[in-house]
C-alpha cells in the first residue's frame, strides 16, 4: 500500500518546468506544430485515436505533442479528455461495405471483384533508411503533382482527366452538373464464402452470448432500432463482466493495446492456438457516420471517418451442431492501424473458442486473461503506481525479512531447496 506524502511542491513545479523544456528541445529548432503531427505522423495519430477511443485527429495530435511522443501517455490524455464531454447519442452502425476505399487487399483470392488496391502501404518497400528524408525541409507541393502526373500518364485517353485537373474555382463548381459519382464497388470477400455456407453465420456466435447480455442490457432511448442492436454492451457505461459477449469483447479489443494484441495474435500462430488464419480481406478508407436525431425524427450524416477493417478467415473442424466450415475473426480501428486490426482479428477468433466448443487451453483463448489486461491505460496505471511512495509498506517488509533472517537456521541438506514463487503480493 502506498501512503500520502506532503511537501515537495517546489520540486514538483520545477520538475514540470524541466519537462516543458525537455519537450521544447533545442530552442533554435522550429517548434513542432500540431498540424505537422496530424499531417506527417498520421499513423501514430490513428493509433492514439483508436486506443484513446476517440476519433479526433487534431486532439490526438495535440496529445502526442504534449506527451512528447509517448503513445501510451497520449492515449491516457485523450481518454481523460473524453470524460469531460457529454455523450449525444449512439451512431447508426457504420457500413464498411460502402467504404470509400483507399486500400483493399485479399490473401485468399487472387482475382476479386473490384480488384486489389495496395494503397499507401509499407508492404513491398525495402526497409532501407531513406537518407534523402534527412535533407527534407520547407513546404513542398511537387511530390503530390508528381504522383498525379504519373497516374495521368498511365491512364491516358480517359476523358475524365481534364475535368479532374480543371481548377476547382467557385464558378466551375456551380456550373457543373453533379451527377452521382460512380465509385467502384468492392464486394466483401467473406460474403462469397457466406453465400456458399462455407463461413459461420453471424447468429452462431450470437446465440450463446444472448444469455449473458440480457442481464446487462443498456437502455438506449432509441426505440426504432432493432432489439439486437440495442443489446450490445457499452464498456464506457458498464464494467466488463465475464463471460463477455462478442460485442463487449470487440469493444474492448478495439481500444486494446496494439503491442499486447500483436503478441497474443502471434502466440496463436506459433502454436498456442489452432486457428489457422488467412487474411480474407483488409480494407482501409472512409465511411460515413450517421446518427438518429430525436428532435428531427430522421438520421443525419455527421461526416466521414477513416477506418481499417480486417476479415480473418479461419479453419474450423465443426462440432455436433455445426458442420465443418470456416470461421471469422474481425478487427477494426480508427484510421489506418492495419497491424492492430490483423492482431485483433486473430484474438477475436481465438476468443470464440467457448462458443464453438473448442478447448480453452491457450492464453489467447482465455477471455478473462485477455480482456482484463488489454487496456494500456489501466495496465500502465497499475504498473506505474509502483513509483508512488511505498515507504511504510516496505519498512514492514524490511522488518519482517530481518526478523526471519535472525530466526533462520540453515538445514544441512544435500539437495538444493526447491524455490516456489511467492504468491501475488496483496496490496
Amino acid at each position: 500500500m502506498y501512503v500520502a506524502v506532503k511537501g515537495g511542491e517546489a520540486a514538483i513545479d520545477n520538475a514540470h518546468q524541466l519537462l516543458a523544456e525537455k519537450r521544447r528541445g533545442d530552442g533554435s529548432v522550429k517548434v513542432l506544430t500540431v498540424k505537422q503531427i496530424q499531417q506527417q505522423l498520421p499513423l501514430v495519430v490513428d493509433r492514439v485515436m483508436t486506443e484513446g477511443s476517440l476519433y479526433d485527429p487534431q486532439l490526438a495530435a495535440l496529445a502526442i505533442k504534449q506527451a512528447m511522443g509517448d503513445v501510451v501517455e497520449a492515449i491516457f490524455l485523450l481518454r481523460a479528455y473524453r470524460t469531460t464531454l457529454p455523450r449525444f447519442a449512439y451512431s447508426e452502425a457504420i457500413n464498411t461495405d460502402e467504404m470509400r476505399i483507399e486500400r483493399r487487399i485479399s490473401a485468399t483470392y487472387k482475382d476479386i471483384p473490384g480488384g486489389q488496391a495496395l494503397g499507401p502501404t509499407f508492404d513491398y518497400t525495402h526497409r532501407l533508411l531513406d537518407f534523402s528524408l534527412l535533407e527534407e525541409e520547407g513546404v513542398d507541393d511537387e511530390i503530390k503533382e508528381g504522383v498525379e502526373e504519373t497516374i495521368n500518364e498511365g491512364t491516358k485517353g480517359n476523358s475524365t482527366d481534364d475535368t479532374i485537373r480543371k481548377e476547382a474555382t467557385a464558378e466551375n463548381l456551380i456550373m457543373e452538373d453533379s451527377s452521382q459519382s460512380c465509385s467502384p464497388h468492392y464486394p466483401r470477400v467473406t460474403d462469397f464464402l457466406r453465400q456458399d455456407n462455407l463461413l459461420q453465420s453471424h447468429s452462431s456466435t450470437l446465440h450463446s452470448s444472448k444469455t449473458n447480455s440480457s442481464e446487462n442490457k443498456t437502455p438506449v432511448n432509441d426505440t426504432q432500432k432493432s432489439e439486437a442492436e440495442n443489446t450490445c454492451t457499452d464498456l464506457t457505461r458498464e464494467p466488463l463482466s465475464y463471460p463477455a459477449d462478442r460485442t463487449a469483447r470487440l469493444q474492448a479489443l478495439t481500444r486494446a493495446d496494439e503491442g499486447y494484441l500483436l503478441a497474443l495474435g502471434y502466440s496463436t500462430q506459433r502454436g498456442y492456438g489452432r486457428t489457422h488464419p488467412f487474411a480474407g480481406e483488409i480494407r482501409m478508407g472512409y465511411v460515413t457516420v450517421s446518427m438518429m436525431v430525436e428532435e428531427l425524427g430522421f438520421a443525419i450524416d455527421l461526416g466521414e471517418i477513416c477506418v481499417t477493417e480486417c476479415d480473418m478467415i479461419n479453419q474450423f473442424q465443426g462440432n455436433q451442431q455445426q458442420p465443418p466450415q470456416f470461421t471469422q475473426g474481425y478487427g477494426i480501428s480508427f484510421g489506418f492501424c492495419e497491424r492492430k486490426t490483423m492482431a485483433m482479428a486473430l484474438v477475436d477468433r481465438s476468443l470464440q473458442a467457448k462458443e464453438l466448443g473448442e478447448a480453452i487451453d491457450t492464453p489467447a483463448a482465455q477471455e478473462e486473461f485477455v480482456l482484463s489486461h488489454c487496456d494500456n491505460v489501466e495496465s500502465s496505471g497499475f504498473v506505474s503506481h509502483l513509483k508512488l511512495p511505498h515507504y511504510v509498506d516496505f519498512q514492514s517488509e524490511l522488518e519482517l525479512v530481518r526478523q526471519m533472517r535472525a530466526d533462520y537456521q540453515p538445514v544441512p541438506n544435500e539437495e538444493p531447496a526447491v524455490t516456489t514463487p511467492s504468491g501475488v503480493a496483496n496490496e
Binding site: S53, L54, Y55, D56, Q58, R82, L85, R87, F88, A89, S91, E92, A93, I94, T96, D97, R100, K110, Q116, L118, G119, E148, I151, T155, T163, A168, N172, L173, I174, S181, R188, T190, H202, L206, E229, T233, D234, R246, T247, A248, L250, Q251, T288, V289, S290, M291, V293, E295, L296, F298, A299, I300, L302, G303, E304, I305, D311, Y330, I332, F334
Partner: protein
C-alpha cells in the same frame, strides 16, 4: 448512405438529409464562401448554443453482423430558430432577390414567426461550422430559399466533394495489382 433510405418520409426530409450530409462533409471555409455569395443577413436565436460532445460510433461484427460500440468521435451541435416572419420574407424577396435585411426586433414582434428550426450537427469541434450548418438548414426550409441554396451552395459543394473523391480514387486505382501465381520450383 443507408440512413438516407431508411426514412419513410418523402422528399422534404430526404432533401434536408442530403443537405446536412453534404454540409457536414464540407469545410467551414467552403460553406461560408458559398453562403456569403447569397448575401443573406441571417436573423436567428440560438436554441442550443454550439456544444461539443461525442457520439459513440457503432460498427458491425464481421462487417455485417451484430452492432457493437467501437469508440467515440467528437461531434458539435447547434440548434437555432429563425427570427424571420413570413410577411417580412415575402416583401424582401420580391424587392430584391436573395438580399434580406436584418430583422429588427420591434418589426417582427407583431408578425407571426415562421418557427423554423435549423440543426447543425458535424463531426469534430468546429463550432462556427456547426452554427453555419444550422443557419443554412433553417433557410433551406423556407420555400423562397430552397432552390437558391440547392443551386448556389449544395451543388458546388457536392461537385467539390466529387472532384476530391474522384482524384483520390484515381490515385488508389493506380495502385491496383494483378498478382500471378508462380508454379513452385520453376
Amino acid at each position: 448512405m443507408h440512413s438516407v433510405n431508411d426514412v419513410k418520409n418523402s422528399h422534404p426530409v430526404k432533401n434536408r438529409q442530403q443537405l446536412l450530409s453534404v454540409l457536414s462533409k464540407s469545410s467551414f471555409d467552403d460553406i461560408n464562401r458559398f453562403w456569403q455569395s447569397l448575401s443573406i443577413v441571417p436573423s436567428y436565436s440560438l436554441l442550443k448554443a454550439p456544444e461539443v460532445g461525442m457520439t459513440m460510433v457503432r460498427a458491425k461484427t464481421g462487417g455485417t453482423g451484430q452492432a457493437f460500440n467501437m469508440g467515440e468521435m467528437t461531434v458539435t451541435r447547434t440548434v437555432i430558430r429563425l427570427n424571420v416572419s413570413e410577411g417580412h420574407l415575402k416583401e424582401s424577396s420580391s424587392e430584391e432577390k436573395g438580399v434580406e435585411e436584418k430583422c429588427v426586433e420591434e418589426e417582427c414582434v407583431e408578425e407571426k414567426y415562421t418557427d423554423i428550426i435549423g440543426f447543425g450537427y458535424t463531426a469534430g469541434r468546429d463550432t462556427k461550422k456547426s452554427e453555419l450548418i444550422a443557419v443554412v438548414d433553417a433557410y433551406f426550409q423556407l420555400p423562397e430559399y430552397t432552390d437558391l441554396i440547392e443551386e448556389k451552395i449544395l451543388q458546388p459543394l457536392r461537385n467539390k466533394q466529387r472532384h476530391q473523391e474522384e482524384s483520390e480514387a484515381k490515385k488508389v486505382d493506380a495502385t491496383k495489382v494483378n498478382f500471378f501465381t508462380m508454379v513452385r520450383g520453376e
